[in-house]
Subunit: 211 residues, 2 copies
Amino acid sequence: MTKEELKKVSDTKTTKILRKGEIIFDEGEKLNGVYCVRGGVSKLSKLSPNGKDQIVKLATKGSVLGQRSVIAEESSNLKATAVNDMEVCFIPKDAIVDTLNRNPNFAVEVLRHMAHDLKEADDVIVNMSQKTVKQRVAEAFIYLEDNFGVDDQGYLLLTLTREDIANVVGTATESAIRIISEFKKLGLIKASGKKIAIANAKGLADMAVGM
Amino acid sequence: MTKEELKKVSDTKTTKILRKGEIIFDEGEKLNGVYCVRGGVSKLSKLSPNGKDQIVKLATKGSVLGQRSVIAEESSNLKATAVNDMEVCFIPKDAIVDTLNRNPNFAVEVLRHMAHDLKEADDVIVNMSQKTVKQRVAEAFIYLEDNFGVDDQGYLLLTLTREDIANVVGTATESAIRIISEFKKLGLIKASGKKIAIANAKGLADMAVGM
DNA sequence: GTATAAACATGACAATTGTCAGTTTACCGA
DNA sequence: TCGGTAAACTGACAATTGTCATGTTTATAC
């Protein structure tokens, strides 16, 4: 119901093409609207005091970026960067606020969406604080397969650098590299150039829960 | 505006007294309403596969528990436990949903509230993944002082067990104990029985950012 | 008050993870 | 296609953190 509404609005807007690596908005920036992802993938990250960029979420087609900040009327707490080439469209703040106030269904729908995000965030907190780096890396690959899919040969469609993977699981790049190498040796994953595929789903899943 | 509305509803409801340690609702439970905290403190936790209970949030007077689950129409992803004696009141789901659909202002207000929670959750993710245990323990004490206050002698009003502190910062109980002992030796905090006070705020703040 | 359990504490050690320093490999633009 | 640069990788070591074992103190029930 609201998705259609949003879609209708977004369809009327001109879309913008972003090159890989471009920043959509930065931490601390005041947003005067939200961005809908129509193609490509964006990483949402937050700089930690130690200088590392923790990736909090990966957003793909259909995701809306910046809605939290627009709704809370705060500047953004996250930075959004294009992981690969992207197509996004912009919806000005006024249009959002307007619809929000006039259409209760829309508000409830957004609310539901944010409730879902909140639950996911809770899960991430638990994973981060209670799982080992190895478990988190295993989970990350499963997550990438589940959420971004694979090509006809089983390779993950979304290719992240080792550094990005490290920033997703919250570890040093070298640690991530070492664990990935280990997974390859164990036959849990296989790699062809930059592309990675899950070779032993069961084994990787076991690894993710510590078996 | 909405807070008044909520308050009005909640005032008409009979309140319930909970003893320290009692469970308000458990993970996986279907909630047919939300709980407003009128006194005391509740910990919201999630069981991780390794058997530890990660505390995701501490809720005090004025907080609403279970709204995420009610709105998303899902069973709860968290367990709510009374940290000390509590007074809570219950608002049935119907009343919430009803108000939500009829009053756009209410929906937007709840939305804002959830947006705030989401930001906090993002911050926690970054802290958990990028800070050392020592930094997180230091932060925890600052958080406890800022959010729950101190008595006339400077002792934290909210007294958590070492185990709870460990579950807040996501570490082993022994590690938390050791770090607390170290902080005492360094003169950053002082203890009288179970009660803990921040003795050197500047020093503790430095510790929290890794100096 | 005393029993009993829970909470707190500490030592010793192992496992995990981070850091630094350096080498090799892959990729992109001229 | 060549060269430069970023990414990927490896080794060695230090620092952090977890685990297990055990003893002490503190709270709570009777």
